[in-house]
Point group: none
Chain length 247, copies 2
DNA sequence: TCAAATTTGCTCAAATTAAATCACAAAAAT
DNA sequence: ATTTTTGTGATTTAATTTGAGCAAATTTGA
């Protein structure tokens, strides 16, 4: 295994797990402790991760005692999100033309994609970068870039969407409700989601359990218009619905 | 097997696998280690892959252990580039509609921009991010994202360019020559530069002194078609020309 | 707080890989 | 026909990477 390959792997693993121990890495990568330590040192020096006693964490994670609750909570949903993302990734098949909406949940999806014959379009610049780095063919949607979400949204984005005919698409959401469907706080974001869904045949909403019965200011689709991929559904009334896929 | 054929094959294999070892290539291509090594060196020099210990990786995944060299190289002409970028930034006025081409020299330009009333379009995703973070209105060009340059290039990018009418535009270049004009190694990149220049009224090429009398494989503009912003010109024959602005 | 357990950074030797050199054959130019 | 150029493979030498061992530093648990 190439040194670079290993470094890359470490970053991928870290991206998913947020933290990793030296021990885990020696097993996964089949290398000695010395090697892993050296690798971590290199990546640490390059500012691509943070070395901590016993392993490494992604940059920016804050494990101070006060934030313990927040960190734990984030990690909790993270496992859910990984589950959801992994399942969703399997839905992508050869020759699919896939739209991936900007957002943290859909970003995870990219880590689990395997079908190199599919073509992807996204409005998230980080998503695009990640897709290309993983070797997928990826088109970036043109239009105005908004800082808050690092996504391309707005009227030009909507215009540019109109030429595409996607076979499948994946979206995140801030709220899910039977009455109000899927909703998000920003109107431009909502309009972009709406237009991209219009151009897509099969709609998948990735959504962890915390989003159910939440309503954000602007709705972008009816509840029945998409298949919801989720996990750990609490509310019984959602369990029975055929467009709710619990994984 | 022909040399060209082998080089091509290596690039194809790399495109799929992202990384490859010398050992693997000797087996797949049925050639000796020496040959494979030579091939990799050629492709590395051409900038089509990155040689690493034990094999090669695609461009863009750069976790190379010796970033010292890269950092040094980038810093080499940094003072020159800063000079050039600062001057170029002053050219942008209120109500300008500005195109900024992807590339390291143009990225520096963004740091010195002040005119918030101008609107920017770029094909570089890092450029776009930086612009938005600095509070400018920025549109990202739609199209296929290439890993090597982190830029949007190709036919769709060219199509999307056609609707714009820029007042000013800034480009980088790999080579400047009186006979061959401005040139760059990649054809898609060249075509995108060419099209964006077509849609722009005033053309500025940012270029440090090392680029003079260099010729890259594909030309994207005649020498007379743009104003060159540069510094420290060695060659006397360029000094007199009125479209060479030495700062 | 202190001792035990774990983790770290270091050196060194072994293994692997890179680069340089030489030899040879085929193709191209003279 | 002969010289030059180009491509290939083998060999040797230099450089890099790797894994193990060990003392020092850190963390853990009583």
């Amino acid at each position: 295994m190439l040194l670079e390959e290993r470094l890359n792997e470490i970053l991928c693993i870290l991206e998913q797990k947020r933290t990793v121990t030296v021990q885990e890495l020696t097993e996964i990568l089949n290398a000695s402790e010395s090697t892993i330590r050296r690798d971590l040192t290199v990546l640490h020096r390059k500012g691509l991760l943070v070395k901590v006693h016993g392993g490494a964490t992604v940059i920016g994670i804050n494990y101070s005692t006060k934030d313990d609750d927040v960190a734990t909570r984030q990690d909790l949903n993270r496992d859910e999100k990984i589950h959801i993302a992994r399942y969703a990734a399997e839905l992508v098949q050869a020759n699919d033309f896939v739209y991936i909406d900007a957002g943290t949940t859909t970003e995870l999806l990219i880590d689990f994609l395997t079908e190199k014959k599919a073509i992807f379009v996204t409005n998230g610049i980080n998503h695009a970068k990640k897709l290309v780095q993983r070797g997928f063919t990826c088109y970036l949607l043109g239009g105005e870039l908004k800082l808050s979400t690092e996504a391309v949204i707005g009227s030009e984005a909507i215009f540019n969407l109109q030429k595409y005919n996607f076979t499948k698409g994946f979206w995140g959401t801030n709220g899910v409700s039977l009455q109000r469907g899927f909703s998000t706080p920003d109107i431009n974001e909502a309009m972009t989601k709406k237009e991209s869904m219009k151009q897509t045949k099969e709609h998948y909403i990735l959504c962890d359990s915390s989003k159910f019965n939440q309503i954000s200011p602007v709705s972008f689709a009816l509840f029945t218009e998409a298949t919801i991929i989720t996990t750990n559904v609490q509310d019984e009334q959602y369990k029975k619905l055929k467009n709710v896929k619990e994984v």
